[in-house]
């Protein structure tokens, strides 16, 4: 997946900005998280006969302007209002080591998540060191804007380039991995009950 360099990402923070049509779109296949890997017996038993993680794919495109990076994700599945749990998207970036995406990282190989959820403004920075072991992440000027139309979410998540400490490195001219997770709130999806992108995709940032 290529991150094209643009003059200014500011207008592209709006997910409906026509400038996004110039960015190459990549289709990322998704699958439900394995039931056997759900962390508690209760969750495994209560979801064994229930479908989840049905979002088959998301379409993503990314840009940066040398100081800020923005990613636009589009997928089908806008839940009706009034449900107990929100639709949500998480972008995963490896911090250090070689974390396994499906295991949500490890203490010596954390994963930095940027999470958007439909019932709250902005994006949250989270750090995961294993399944069920995510905590508030490093302070970061991240943002998210969303637009729902025709049953499809269009969400732009952005953050500064760079990276230090537990902020996953995103550097112009460098390559890293990227992963995704999507929750359909209307189907009671939360926690590990979600669709995820199986393994890291390659993320290449233009110089």
């Amino acid at each position: 997946m290529k991150t094209r360099r643009v003059g200014d990402v500011a207008p592209l923070l709006d997910p409906t900005d026509p400038g996004w049509s110039a960015a190459p779109v990549e289709r990322i296949g998704m699958m439900p998280t394995p039931l056997a890997m759900q962390p508690t017996e209760y969750i495994r038993n209560s979801w064994k006969d229930r479908a989840y993680g049905a979002t088959a794919a998301i379409e993503v495109a990314a840009v940066h302007d040398g100081s800020r990076w923005a990613l636009r994700a589009v997928w089908n599945g806008v839940s009706p209002a009034g449900k107990d749990f929100p639709d949500a998207l998480a972008i995963a970036l490896p911090v250090r080591g070689e974390p396994v995406l499906v295991l949500m990282g490890a203490p010596d190989a954390p994963i930095h998540f940027l999470r958007w959820q439909a019932n709250k403004p902005g994006a949250k920075s989270q750090l995961a060191t294993g399944i069920g072991r995510s905590a508030p992440g490093p302070a970061l000027d991240c943002s998210a804007r969303a637009h729902a139309e025709g049953g499809r979410w269009q969400v732009v998540v952005s953050r500064p380039l760079g990276g230090a400490g537990d902020v996953a490195p995103l550097l112009a001219g460098a390559t890293t991995g990227i992963g995704f997770a999507v929750w359909v709130g209307g189907n009671d999806e939360r926690g590990g009950i979600k669709a995820f992108s199986i393994d890291w995709a390659e993320l290449v940032l233009d110089t």
Binding site: Q38, T40, E41, Y42, I43, N45, S46, D84, G191
Partner: protein, 368 residues
């Protein structure tokens, strides 16, 4: 399993349904914003649907040791407290307006079927069933949580939710077969009875037990042979868990209610109790038969003047003996921790109706 377990016994023969326990808990713990619908302590009429309505058919718990799927109760299931249009009725200046709850569109309140009970006249019957979190030995909520946000204290078995770890996934609500966990939509966390652990830590019994005018509630350690719990649960076997078949090993026990005889068609008393024993068995298990027999036997013994340790205990001749090692007065403990001068309010302002506070205000004891 914890090293020790605090437990509660509630004598259903003495509960008068006054809800003092409910209010004691409400005013002490659930005055934060987002907690308006929460009643960590409830008292419902049995036979009845309980709170949340129909909780006994919402699933959860364990069957053959396997965690069972459950339904997540919402605010309407628990029964929202109604808002009334008092302002419009009394001061609105309109003669044709009448009092209405939630604009006339109210749902069922938390105690919707109070005093309805069961049976047909002249054998109609009911009793009150107070409920709190059971602080189970095998807590379904704790085992369901993927965040490990629920813990059972090693020293006394009190089950607590760590609100900093909780993400509001609400699997605990589904898994708890007693449906005694609430969800705070404002803060995005699950919340429940904490067995007044800050009081227990200081040797003061729970607010619900100390405030109970009927002397219904005993508190102590399950394994303390000098305390009331061990005597009622293990020695005399008159205190039984609610729905033991849910498989969580609850640590709140109930002395089942005796009742006057059933009346036959001619109006004569029969040998059957007014409250059907099979109904009590459906709640408290087969131990009901022996427990009721023991109560009858000891009561007769007492009546004959032979004395009965069990009756003396249940009568609660010495009030403080009901609370095992937790007999300190809250004032005694509070004196050790005076309210800072700058947080004190004039006395007149302290006496008020329930107010809801922000989390920060609540942490300061409801003082802004």
């Amino acid at each position: 399993m914890s090293k020790r377990q605090v437990a509660m016994v509630m004598d259903l023969n003495k509960c008068i349904g006054c809800q003092t326990c409910t209010v004691a808990c409400k005013t002490l713990w659930t005055r934060r914003e987002g907690m308006e619908h929460m009643l960590w302590n409830t008292v419902n009429t049995q036979p009845g649907t309980g709170t949340p309505h129909g909780f006994e058919s919402m699933g959860g718990g364990f069957y053959d040791g396997l965690a069972q799927p459950g339904r997540r109760p919402g605010v309407e299931d628990f029964g929202k407290a109604w808002d009334f249009n008092h302002q419009d009725v009394f001061f609105g200046g309109k003669g044709d307006i009448s009092l209405a709850a939630d604009g006339g569109k109210h749902g069922k309140g938390p105690n919707w079927d109070e005093d309805q009970g069961g049976g047909e006249f002249p054998n109609s019957h009911y009793f009150y069933l107070p409920r709190i979190c059971n602080h189970c030995t095998h807590p379904a909520c704790l085992e369901a949580c993927p965040r490990k946000a629920i813990t059972k204290r090693d020293e006394d078995g009190i089950v607590l939710i760590d609100e900093d770890r909780c993400r509001g996934y609400r699997f605990c609500q589904e898994a708890c077969p007693y449906k005694k966990i609430y969800y705070n939509e404002l803060e995005g966390v699950s919340q429940k009875c904490i067995f007044c652990f800050p009081r227990i830590d200081e040797g003061v019994t729970t607010a619900c037990s100390r405030q109970c005018p009927g002397r219904v509630r005993f508190v102590g350690y399950l394994d303390d042979p000098e305390g009331p719990i061990w005597k009622l649960v293990t020695k005399h076997k008159v205190a039984l868990p609610l729905h033991a078949e849910y498989g969580t090993q609850p640590n709140v026990f109930y002395v089942p209610p005796l009742s006057p005889p059933k009346i036959d068609a001619e109006g004569n008393p029969t040998d059957e109790p007014r409250i059907p024993t099979e109904y009590l068995v459906s709640l408290f298990g087969d131990g009901v038969h022996a427990a009721l027999a023991t109560l009858e036997r000891e009561r007769a013994r007492n009546k004959r003047g032979e004395g009965s340790e069990l009756m003396d205990l249940l009568i609660s001749r010495k009030w403080l003996d009901m609370f095992g090692p937790f007999q300190k007065h809250p004032r005694e403990v509070a004196q050790n921790r005076p309210i800072p001068q700058n947080q004190q309010k004039p006395r007149g302002k302290q006496v008020s109706t329930i107010q809801f506070h922000t989390k920060e205000e609540f942490k300061k004891g409801g003082r802004s």
